[in-house]
Symmetry: C2
Subunit: 250 residues, 2 copies
DNA sequence: CGAAGCCTTGAAGAATTTCAAACCTGGTGG
DNA sequence: CCACCAGGTTTGAAATTCTTCAAGGCTTCG
């Protein structure tokens, strides 16, 4: 089993101290993901408080940040890169619960133990907040709690969307929905483009959509042949979003 | 389309005022679901505040409490009965997101609009809280917010469990898991029993598990034949929970 | 260049769905 | 009291989608 950054301590993951030169220049106040993240809830002073207890973590591709059932010692904010959040069944079947992109918060529910395994898909940077300290700040900062709560509600809605997809959509609809959903997310974090990057592999997509890798591949090929998308290295170009929307049966 | 109690105002749903004789004797303080619900977070005084803005709502079987995309004017606490929470795809395919039992809270995320349709499966009673008033109380009561947040986190975990089920389990595993999950929920609200009531129909179960009604029926028959369960009117008896556990592949 | 790791494609197989019909069960009315 | 109807449930057979198994292709990287 791959060691996670969490259980391995510093290990291969570099977890810097909170010194100015170890993080993005300017700290939280200048953080480019602040406005899309939970930190947007905070005043300047509170932000300073948060910054004091933040650490920067770097992850290489394929490296785990934490494992399912690990004691949750910290929560994280993604500032760069992306991660895969997955769960395993005892017999090895895997369900990818989602992908964390820039601005996403890991450990939103402040659980005792993590309910998923988080692994980097690309070189990834995160803000790490020690859990107890963060919980303390939350307890003192009602509008941060409010913000986390709203965020949790949003996650819940996304989870419902995904249940609908898993339970009632066909393979083609699943793939089309997935691509559109990803584009929308990139849009929200300022990556507006017709070309959708796919930092995850086909197997990851399959495990996310409740399909096999072969079916995902076939559906992508089909969408490509039908000129709804164009498969390019590292992603897909959404040639005909309207048609894709139609195929997604949203 | 069936009118929901919400959009129909009083309509066929009886929404009583907050007079003592319109509700369970003793009000919130004596409420039998208080300890399993979000209300457990409140002190006696706060409970009085909450009680002042609560109304009792009665629903007949098949009656809708609210519809997907309805403006969310209130939140609810189930005190008796059960409801089906579902979403529809434009073409009519349905996904049942879950079933609300006694003690469950509807509108947990305080959304602008409901993301699901809620329909009573049996004669049902609920505490209704006008949304703005409730939001006001929440804003003044950090530990109520805290409680709601925890609850939301729990819901999120359940949603993940269900995604795993929908995406990666076989039909038999789905049905077995469903029965065990339902038994566990009944247990938590004090309905400990080897006989699991099924207030919902086969179609509801199918739409919950991402199957067809025929497959659900066949799997139940199979579990019955294999003596893991015994199908009885209105529910099933879990004859062999250990075997069921094994079949569920949890 | 060769190997490893993905990704794609094809053919066969299996689980689940679809279509169709029969079966209960409880309520209604003759 | 019994026949009949309506609704939901079960069962069977055929069809379909998706998976499984197998092989080939493409890229990247030493």
């Amino acid at each position: 089993m791959q060691d996670s950054a969490e259980s391995a301590g510093v290990g291969t993951a570099s977890a810097g101290h909170a010194c100015a030169h170890d993080r993005a220049e300017g700290g939280c106040a200048a953080c480019k993901v602040r406005l899309v993240s939970v930190c947007a809830a905070l005043t300047r002073e509170e932000l300073a408080g948060l910054e004091a207890l933040s650490q920067q973590v770097h992850l290489d591709p394929r490296q785990a940040l934490f494992q399912q059932d690990d004691r949750a010692g910290a929560v994280y904010n993604v500032t760069e890169g992306s991660l895969r959040l997955s769960r395993l069944l005892p017999d090895g079947r895997r369900q990818v619960m989602g992908f964390a992109l820039v601005g996403d918060f890991l450990g939103l529910a402040l659980p005792e133990r993590f309910t998923v395994t988080a692994e980097a898909l690309a070189p990834t940077m995160l803000c790490r907040f020690e859990r107890r300290a963060f919980a303390g700040l939350v307890a003192q900062t009602p509008h941060l709690l409010q913000r986390l709560y709203e965020r949790a509600g949003h996650e819940l809605t996304l989870a419902q969307d995904h249940m609908m997809l898993l339970g009632r959509r066909t393979a083609e609809e699943k793939v089309a929905s997935f691509l559109l959903g990803l584009r929308a997310r990139y849009g929200r974090i300022g990556h507006e483009s017709v070309t959708v990057e796919l930092p995850m592999g086909r197997q990851d997509i399959a495990d996310h959509l409740g399909l096999t890798i072969e079916t995902v591949s076939r559906m992508l090929t089909r969408l490509d042949r039908e000129k709804a998308i164009l498969i390019v290295p590292g992603g897909v170009r959404l040639t005909d979003p309207a048609r894709l929307e139609h195929l997604a049966a949203s």
